[in-house]
């Protein structure tokens, strides 16, 4: 058996063990290593990707459930061949990144959040980020950086 899905806009066919978590396929077979596997239990959020536009933890999604679905990883989140989206740029400009392990997941969560709500409150951002754990505990500066682009037209482009 195999499944065909889209990863960062490209059609991919997977014919391995369909119980394999998406995170492992992304990292080990497609070499998309921006998706980090840390806790592997869904608690930390470092492996967050977009599945059909929604942030989900890829460590808990078996490949067999992904037939026909669209997956976007940190490597493809800017879209259109761009190097970074607005969330990535503001995190860079505000010098927020510390060790970087959590950041791919943070970016995926925040990008989807701003896509739906261009002007989230600080509390709304905190709620969205409750599943993304930063071991460097840089949360407030992350929020400051994202709020600096909140409300801007096309905030995540």
């Amino acid at each position: 058996m195999s499944v065909t899905l889209t990863v960062n806009g490209e059609e991919r066919t997977f014919d391995g063990d369909l119980r394999l978590p998406l995170a492992d396929m992304l990292r080990d077979q497609l070499r998309l290593t921006g998706t980090k596997t840390v806790c592997r239990e869904g608690f930390c959020g470092a492996c967050t990707v977009h599945v059909d536009g929604e942030p989900m933890v890829s460590c808990l999604i078996p490949m067999g459930t992904l037939a026909g679905r669209s997956v976007v990883t940190i490597e493809g989140v800017a879209g259109g061949g761009a190097q970074m989206n607005a969330v990535q740029r503001t995190l860079l400009e505000h010098d927020v990144v510390q060790c970087g392990m959590c950041f791919p997941g943070m970016v995926m969560t925040l990008s989807a959040c701003l896509e739906k709500n261009h002007a989230p409150t600080r509390e709304a951002l905190k709620a969205e980020l409750s599943g993304n754990i930063c071991r460097c505990t840089g949360y407030e500066r992350i929020l400051d950086a994202v709020l600096s682009i909140s409300g801007q037209e096309g905030a995540v482009k």
Binding site: M1, L18, R19, G42, G45, P55, L60, P62, G131
Partner: protein, 290 residues
């Protein structure tokens, strides 16, 4: 259905196909809902079942139907989907709150109500206490036909049911009542609850409690109702402070479980405060949507 002999991942298209496959596998396969629990098996050095029988392709299991008489929730409805669908239904607020506060946003988009009530080793299952106070019933389809039983009965016998028995939907009646939920975690979010409490009450013309249902989860191995407290608060005003005092007098009804996140005595001791918080949430919802 695409089935390859010896495959470790099957995707039936109908409930009947799923029941048939599970019967044939005779315990060597497991129904796969949101996969959030089973996917942790390798990390926890547990042996995963040989074959996943994914239910995701069965459309009816994802559906939520709400009318004035009852609510029907397919077993693959996600926590996020339930929280959104039930927003504003005051009688069902306990379930909406529990579904909207569980785990993390990313998990809530995937985790299902069926998985939540079927995972036997999951003491803190978020949706069980609200289902208990809302008198929910579980519809099961299996080799022997269809059965509908109260959620408490299902919880007590779920380990012993046939491997081909499939939880298909949850049915919740809608009598005149209000409900709420309170949850304690060590961090504000993203954790299993140390303890959680759901309440559902009907009040009389003087705003005294005429009927009450209270359920406690995560304190013992399986969530259950608190009948002594339910009886003790009938006739009282639903005042959070008074409810807390009454709950203190009935704490001996529980024997808290020790686990890495909290000792048993702590789970017991926080219950009166959670009862008060649940009644406060009930009071706070006054004046909102009906």
């Amino acid at each position: 259905m695409d089935i390859t002999t010896g495959s470790t991942f099957l995707s039936p298209d109908t409930i009947q196909q799923a029941v048939s496959v599970l019967r044939d596998l005779d315990g060597a396969g497991v129904p796969l809902a949101g996969a959030t629990w089973i996917s942790r098996a390798a990390t926890r050095c547990e042996t995963p079942p040989g074959t996943y029988v994914s239910l995701a392709g069965i459309a009816s299991l994802h559906e939520i139907h709400i009318d004035a008489r009852q609510v029907s929730i397919g077993s693959l409805a996600t926590h996020a989907g339930i929280a959104e669908a039930l927003t504003g239904c005051k009688d069902l607020q306990a379930l909406a709150m529990a579904a909207g506060m569980s785990a993390t946003p990313a998990i809530r988009r995937v985790a299902t109500i069926g998985g939540n009530i079927c995972t036997t080793a999951f003491a803190p299952a978020d949706l069980v206490p609200p289902l208990l106070v809302l008198d929910a019933e579980v519809e099961i389809q299996g080799s022997g036909g269809t059965a509908i039983l109260p959620v408490a009965e299902f919880m007590s016998q779920r380990r012993d049911r046939a491997p081909s028995d499939l939880v298909c939907r949850i049915i919740i009646p809608r009598p005149a009542r209000r409900s709420a939920h309170a949850r304690l975690t060590l961090r504000k979010a993203g954790e299993y609850p140390v303890a959680h409490v759901s309440i559902a009450v009907a009040t009389d013309a003087l705003d005294r409690i005429a009927e009450a249902a209270i359920a406690v989860g995560s304190v013992e191995a399986t969530a259950r109702r608190w009948p002594a407290l339910e009886a003790a608060i009938v006739g009282l005003a639903p005042d959070p402070a008074e409810m807390k005092q009454v709950a203190v007098a009935h704490l001996k009804d529980f024997t808290g479980r020790d686990a890495v996140d909290a000792p048993g005595w702590y789970r017991e001791r926080v219950l009166p405060g959670l009862v008060a918080r649940a009644f406060q949430a009930l009071a706070d919802s006054e004046g909102g949507a009906s």
